[in-house]
Amino acid sequence: MRGGNPGNGAPRGNGGPRANGGPRPGRPVDLSVECGGIRSPNPFWLASGPPTNTAGQVMRAFDMGWGGAVWKTLGDPITNTASRYGAIDYQGRNVAGFNNIELITDRPLEVNLREIAEVKRRYPGHALVASLMVETRDDWRDIIRRTEDTGCDGFELNFGCPHGMCERGMGSAVGQEPRLLEEITGWAREFASIPVLVKLTPNITDILDPAMAAQRGGAHGVSLINTIKSVIAIDHDTFSPIPSVAGQGTSGGYCGPAVKPIALHMVTRLGKAEEFRLPVSAIGGIHTWEDALDFLLMGASSLQVCTAAMHYGFRIVQEMTRGLEEWMREKGYSRIEEFRGRALPNYEEWGDLDLNYRIVAEIDPVLCIGCQLCYAACEDGAHQCIALPAGTRVPRIKQDECVGCNLCQIVCPVEGCITMVEVERGLPKESWNDRVAAGTAGAGGRH
C-alpha cells in the first residue's frame, strides 16, 4: 500500500496507534453510526455468514465489541457440501484470499427466528439485521412477516450469493438482473415495516446498475460486496478444483484481504454517482482499522466483516475499533460523520488528473541496503532509469529520465528509503479533458 505522493515512502498508518503504543488521552470519540435507519454503537457489523449462524455466536460477538450483525441468510434450509472452503496463501501469510461454496443457513427457520428474538431482547442497542433469500412473492411475504416478529432492526436481501442459490433463481441470479432486483425489492418494501438493505453482487459490469435498481425499488440502503466468483486452485494430484467435494469442485465466492480494492472501487463508484443517494454498508476484505477507514472515507455508513472474523475470531474487532478511535483522536474528530466521505472529492476520473504534475524517485543512500530490487524493477519492468555505479551497491536514479511511476518505491523493502520528490515545473494544471477541450489532445497519448 504505497502511493506515488511526495514523501509517501512509509506505509500508511504511521502516526496512528501503532506508532505510539496504547491509546492517548483525549476527548472521548463516538463511533456510533446509522445506516438506512439502522443504528449501532459502532460501524462494525458481522456480515452474514458462518460467524452469524447462531445466537451463541452473535451474543459473544456483541460482548467482544461488534456493533451489529447480519444473521446468516434465512430461507428454505439447504444441504451444504464438505469441504466448502479454499484459501490463497501469499508470501508466507495464509488466507490472503478466501473462497467458499457454502449456501445459506442450514438450520430450521423457527430455530433461527427464536434465536434472533432472543438476541434482540438481550442486546436492544445493537444492530441486528436479518438476511433473507427466498423465491416467490408469497415466500417473501411469509418470511418477512415471520422475521419482523423477532424485533430485528432491518432486513438485508441477499441478491449476491454467487453459487448454489443462483442456480435456483436466487442470490446473484437476482443481483445480476436489475429489473428482477427492483421488483423483489419492491415486494420487500411492501411487506416490511422496518428498513430494507439490498446486498449487491460484484459479479456484474457496473455496480451502479443494480444499485440504481435497488434505489428505484425503494431500498433504504445497499450492502456491498458479496463474494466474487472464483476458482481458488487445482489439486495437482487429484486434478480436482479446491475445495474438493468427493474429487470434484466448483466455482465459489472470493473474499478476504485480496478483494478489498475491488470492494473499495465499487463503494467509491456509488459514492461518486450523484444519481445514487442511498447509504452504503461496505463489505469486502476488511481486516484492520485501516481497511475500515478507507471505506468510511469513501462514504460508507457502516462496515461488515466476515473473513477476518472467521480467521481470527471475534476479538479482532477490538483492533479495528481501537485503531479507528485512536486515529480519530489524533485527527481531532469526535464523530464518524465528521469525516465520512472525506476522500470522495479527491477521487477524479483519469481525464481530470493533472498531466503537468511531475515526481521523481530519490534514494536515501544511508537507508539503502543494496538489494538492487529497484534496479531490476526499473530496468526490466519500467523505464531503465536506474544505474548501478561501480564500487557501491547503492543504485543511482537517473532523475532526468525517471518518469515517476514509483515502481522502485513499491518494490524497495526499506521503509522511507525511496521517496518520490516533486519536480517544480512552474506549469498550471492541465488534464486530458482540458487538452481535449483546447483541441491539443493529440500531444501525448492517453495510454
Partner: protein, 436 residues
C-alpha cells in the same frame, strides 16, 4: 557401520531442522535480491534467492536441485558452513538491522528433503570411457568425482581411512553435524556411480605409477596431515592429544576416557582449538581453558565462534605458551609461561592443573606424499599450487583442490575447488583426448 552410541551423539544440533512452517515463513522473508550479495559470498555461488523461493512455493525438490547443481556438498555445507562470515554475513537484512535470512537452515530444509527420502536428482552421463583417480575421500574428491561421473567419466576415490567423507565425517563439530549425516551424503552422491577404494593409502598401498597407468588423470584431494606437535617436554604423556585426533575419537569412538577429566586445556588460536574447547565443554568437562600465544585480536578463529565458546563457559588465557606437560605416568598439569608480542617468554612460568590437553596448533603438510609423485609437483610448503581457472597443477596429469591446495579452508571451498578441477579435467580430456 558406525556405532550408534558414539560420544558425539551426546551433542545435539545447535541449529536443528526447521519445521515446514518455519521454513516457509523464513523463506517468505527473502527479498529475492537482484545480483544477490549472499550468492557472491558463497564459494559455490548457489542461487540462494532461487532455492529459497522454491522452498516458499512448496517445491523443496526443485530447491535441492538448485543447491546441488551448484554445490554437490550442499547437504553438509548447509550444516557446517560458517554462514556468519559467508552468505548470511552478506544478506542485505544485516544492513536493514533485521535478522538476516537463515540461509543455511533453509538449505538444510531442502537437502534433507531429498537426501533423507533417498530422492536421487542426478545420474551418470553417457560414458566417455575415461577414468580419473581421486586421492583422498574428503569433500574435495567427492565434489570432483560427482561432477566427473555426471560428465560421463569413471571416478575412483582412494581413501586411506575407514570412513569416507574426510573431515566432514570425522572432524566437524558434532553440534553442527554428526558423522552419519556426512555418510548419508556420501552415499547419496555415490549412488550415481562413484567407486570407492576404502582403506587404501596412495603412495603406500598403491604406488603413484600404478595410478598413472590405470587412470587418465589424477585429482589430489588428500587434505592436510596429522596434528602438528609443539615439541614440548612431556608431549607424549597419556592425556596429551592432538586436537583433530581427539575430535575424531569423539566423533567416531564410543569411549573417550579423558572425558572423565575435570580440567582440560586447549593450546591454539584457530577454529580447531575453539571447536575442541566447545566440544569438551558441551560434553560436560567442568573446566576448559584455551591458551593462546597472542591476544584475541590475533586469533584466526571466527569471532562468532569465540563468542559462543565464551558464552558456554570456556575460559581464555592470552599471551601464554606451554613450556612443559607434567605428570607421573599421566598428565596432571601444564606449565605455561607468559610471552610478549614477539612471543618471547616474560616472567616466571606458572602451573595450570589439567588432566587433558588438546594441541591445536595446525595440521601437518603432506610434503612426503607429494615428493613421491613421478615428475614432481609444485607446492609451497606442502600446499599444492594450482591454476585459478582449472585447478590443474604443475604436473600435467594432476589436478588438486581442497585443503591440500588452499592450505586449509572450509568444506564449501573444497567442494568448489573439487568441482572446478572436474570441469578442468573434463575440458582437457575433451580438447586433446587426454594425451599429455
Amino acid at each position: 557401520m558406525l556405532a550408534t552410541d558414539r560420544v558425539e551423539t551426546r551433542l545435539p544440533d545447535l541449529k536443528p531442522a526447521l519445521t515446514e512452517a518455519q521454513a516457509r515463513a523464513e523463506a517468505a522473508r527473502c527479498l529475492f535480491c537482484h545480483d544477490a550479495p549472499c550468492v557472491a559470498a558463497c564459494p559455490t555461488a548457489i542461487d540462494i534467492p532461487m532455492f529459497i523461493r522454491q522452498i516458499h512455493s512448496g517445491n523443496p525438490v526443485g530447491a535441492a536441485r538448485t543447491i546441488f547443481e551448484a554445490n554437490p556438498l550442499g547437504h553438509s555445507c548447509a550444516r557446517v558452513c560458517p554462514v556468519e562470515v559467508l552468505c548470511v554475513g552478506e544478506c542485505v537484512y544485516n544492513a536493514k538491522g533485521e535478522p538476516p535470512i537463515m540461509i543455511g537452515r533453509l538449505q538444510r530444509h531442502a537437502t534433507d528433503h531429498v537426501v533423507h527420502a533417498g530422492i536421487q536428482l542426478f545420474e551418470a552421463g553417457p560414458s566417455t570411457g575415461r577414468a580419473i583417480a581421486c586421492v583422498g575421500g574428503g569433500p574435495a574428491s567427492l565434489a570432483c568425482a560427482h561432477e566427473l561421473v555426471r560428465l560421463g567419466h569413471r571416478a575412483v576415490i582412494y581413501e586411506k581411512g575407514t570412513w569416507p567423507g574426510g573431515l566432514n565425517t570425522d572432524g566437524v563439530a558434532p553440534y553442527k553435524m554428526h558423522a552419519e549425516e556426512s555418510l548419508a551424503e556420501v552415499e547419496w552422491l555415490s549412488e550415481i556411480g562413484i567407486v570407492w577404494r576404502l582403506g587404501v593409502e596412495v603412495g603406500r598401498d598403491v604406488p603413484w605409477v600404478e595410478l598413472e597407468r590405470e587412470f587418465d588423470a589424477v585429482f589430489l584431494g588428500a587434505g592436510l596431515g596429522a596434528d602438528s606437535a609443539l615439541g614440548v617436554e612431556g608431549e607424549d604423556l597419556p592425556g596429551v592429544w592432538g586436537a583433530t585426533a581427539l575430535i575424531e575419537a569423539i566423533k567416531t569412538g564410543r569411549q573417550v576416557d579423558p572425558l572423565s577429566v575435570y580440567s582440560a586445556v586447549v593450546i591454539g588460536g584457530g577454529n580447531t582449538a575453539i571447536d575442541a574447547a566447545r566440544e569438551l565443554k558441551l560434553l560436560g568437562v567442568p573446566e576448559v581453558r584455551v591458551v593462546y600465544r597472542r591476544g584475541p585480536e590475533s586469533m584466526s578463529a571466527y569471532a562468532h565462534e569465540r563468542e559462543h565458546a565464551t558464552a558456554e563457559g570456556v575460559a581464555f588465557t592470552w599471551r601464554a605458551v606451554p613450556v612443559a606437560f607434567e605428570g607421573n605416568g599421566r598428565l596432571n598439569a601444564v606449565r605455561l609461561t607468559t610471552v610478549d608480542r614477539g612471543c618471547n617468554p616474560v616472567g616466571e612460568p606458572f602451573r595450570v592443573p589439567a588432566d587433558l590437553v588438546a594441541v591445536a596448533v595446525g595440521q601437518g603438510r603432506l610434503e612426503t606424499l607429494l615428493a613421491g609423485i613421478p615428475g614432481g609437483i609444485a607446492h609451497e610448503r606442502g600446499h599444492v599450487r594450482v591454476d585459478e581457472a582449472t585447478g590443474r597443477t604443475s604436473n600435467p596429469k594432476y589436478w588438486a583442490g581442497g585443503d591440500l591446495a588452499n592450505g586449509g579452508a572450509e568444506v564449501v571451498n573444497a567442494a568448489a575447488e573439487g568441482k572446478r578441477a572436474a570441469r578442468g579435467i573434463h575440458e582437457w580430456l575433451e580438447r586433446n583426448g587426454g594425451s599429455v
